[in-house]
Assembly symmetry: C2
Homo-oligomer: 394 residues x 2
Amino acid sequence: MASAKRLGILGSTGSIGVSTLDIVAAFPDQFEVVTLTAGNNLVRLEEQIRRFRPQMVAVLSEDGAKQLKQRLGDEAPQILSGIEGLVACATHAGIDMVVSAIVGAAGLVPTMSAIESGKDIALANKETLVTAGSLITEAVARHGVRLFPVDSEHSAIFQSLEGHRMDDVRRLILTASGGPFRNRPLEEMVDITPADALAHPNWSMGRKISIDSATMMNKGLEVIEARWLFDVPADRIAVHIHPQSIVHSLVEYIDGAVIAQLGIPDMKTPIAYALSHPNRLPLDLPALDLCSLRNLTFDDPDLERFPCLGLAYDALAMDGTAPAVLNAANEVAVDAFLNEEIAFLDIARIIGATLKGLKVKPLEHIDDVLRADLWGRREARRLIDSQAEGGQAC
Amino acid sequence: MASAKRLGILGSTGSIGVSTLDIVAAFPDQFEVVTLTAGNNLVRLEEQIRRFRPQMVAVLSEDGAKQLKQRLGDEAPQILSGIEGLVACATHAGIDMVVSAIVGAAGLVPTMSAIESGKDIALANKETLVTAGSLITEAVARHGVRLFPVDSEHSAIFQSLEGHRMDDVRRLILTASGGPFRNRPLEEMVDITPADALAHPNWSMGRKISIDSATMMNKGLEVIEARWLFDVPADRIAVHIHPQSIVHSLVEYIDGAVIAQLGIPDMKTPIAYALSHPNRLPLDLPALDLCSLRNLTFDDPDLERFPCLGLAYDALAMDGTAPAVLNAANEVAVDAFLNEEIAFLDIARIIGATLKGLKVKPLEHIDDVLRADLWGRREARRLIDSQAEGGQAC
């Protein structure tokens, strides 16, 4: 029997982190937790430390690290803080695979560090590939590590490519629930409130991701990720609206065959596949009962009503720093929408205007990404403020 | 570049044979036709000979062979007849792969001969695995050849297994159109006529196969084939009614993931995959446009209205000679239904009664299959005649 796979879990108290640890708990012979990192949820992290006994953990602040040390007393592992702590947990000599599940731009640097120290990556952090795709894929190739997608769409494509040749691929087809407004006419989208947008039909998710689902920017970001994960150009990546969220994505081949991965909407399946590839784990999940479903439908997305999806393709075409700027502007715009500073349709307008003002530069180093991210945030913020002052931002 | 794959095509004038040759014609660098066999369609065979220049052909009768020689004159290849001719074309030293596309029980012996002489098989003939599954899979293993399924359901499962581990499979799910009577209440199935039954919604096919589709015996036979092709026990092979015939079949894994193969209903895709596995061929087929479909639905089959499906599972459970008897009785019963000797619902009754009278024997040699086939035909015929004479056959 192979020895247990030794894991570092970045973002262990978030939803992906918790599901990952559920899987570890269910298969204790197969996995060992060596490092954990969390942001501010010290209560949950403390429970996880007592249960999984990692050798090293990292939290956001020095103060948090101190608190945690006190609470754990003699049971405390090595406890670090800040970005140095994160990187130490991502590059620890005792781990085989890093589960990159930090939400947001903070995931980029530790993920890159993990790749550079030869760790395989189970990637849940969207920003890593969205903002730094070319740098990440270069580093993955250079260090001979493997990058396994964790979110359901990319895992579906990954599973639909296994055993088949990339040369035979015609198109990748990402499915999208279409979000809560998929059937709403454009003229009724003007007065969408944050509360309207925070209700998602199929998946339970955080506020930022819910808004991304409502604008379909989530799918735009996934198109960018797919471009890098699978090395397929954007014009061969399609999006289909599939409100039932049962077909998680598809691959179309040159002979007309389409391979798809289906399942109930549960993140444990893609997480477990990333953790144990090429093997599968016998998860304790209800089987997909196709016969109990009313039907499965597919539709082309409406780029007029969901311009964020088009903006993501635009950013891919602009290349270089553009996707990082798209992502940064989106974060700022979504935040402004949630704070009721701007209207729903302004999200895309702010992002579009930010991209319009960008002088694209090539990505040569991770610092180029960080600079582009910063510029995108400032520019989007400026445009929002100028709009609030009655100016014509976009 | 690899040299062309050298093919022997058994049943070259039937629908699978013709599609196979269409693919050969489209990819002349990749395939070479070395042998062809046909039954009575000498006109089409002559055209195929002039076009594809095989080294050897076989037809059903000596008389047919003579005619063909005369018509081809100096252009005639070696022309044989009868079962010896078939076997010679299946075992020719110059071929790498045999496309087994003869319809009916006549396909069994030449297919087994091809396996025994070390040829890979692209298998379209249903009877081979239905009647002699254990013998065939034994021979395939002993001679180290590969057996590629050609029909759409098994090809879909084969494609959905590629790159994944058989140990991780929970269930195979064969889809079925459900045939023309999938929504007809049982009491209205009594007076179904051959003409009613010969209209199939999605695929164009021969008379025997159309009736098998209407009774769902086609799916029963496919369950038996799947059991042998993939070495999965019958209780882990399910059937779903899927009237749109877009999802060609699915595989459910232990982690809840389901992999499916989809496509337009065209036999060229599975044929080409069998011919060129693990590569795919860029076929000139319209792409599957999921967004133009109204919806996709799945239902459990109703074994009360479609008892033939249950009989196939019964025959698998009985093992040994039972599937060969099931198949033989079905052929005779379908024939009697087409000749208006028996009613639609009698087809299953005759098959059930035939199986009931069977003393199952293990399969040790292909002759056991041939004897069981003969016995099944005679017994089914006897039951039909006795019913016609007013007796209570079943």
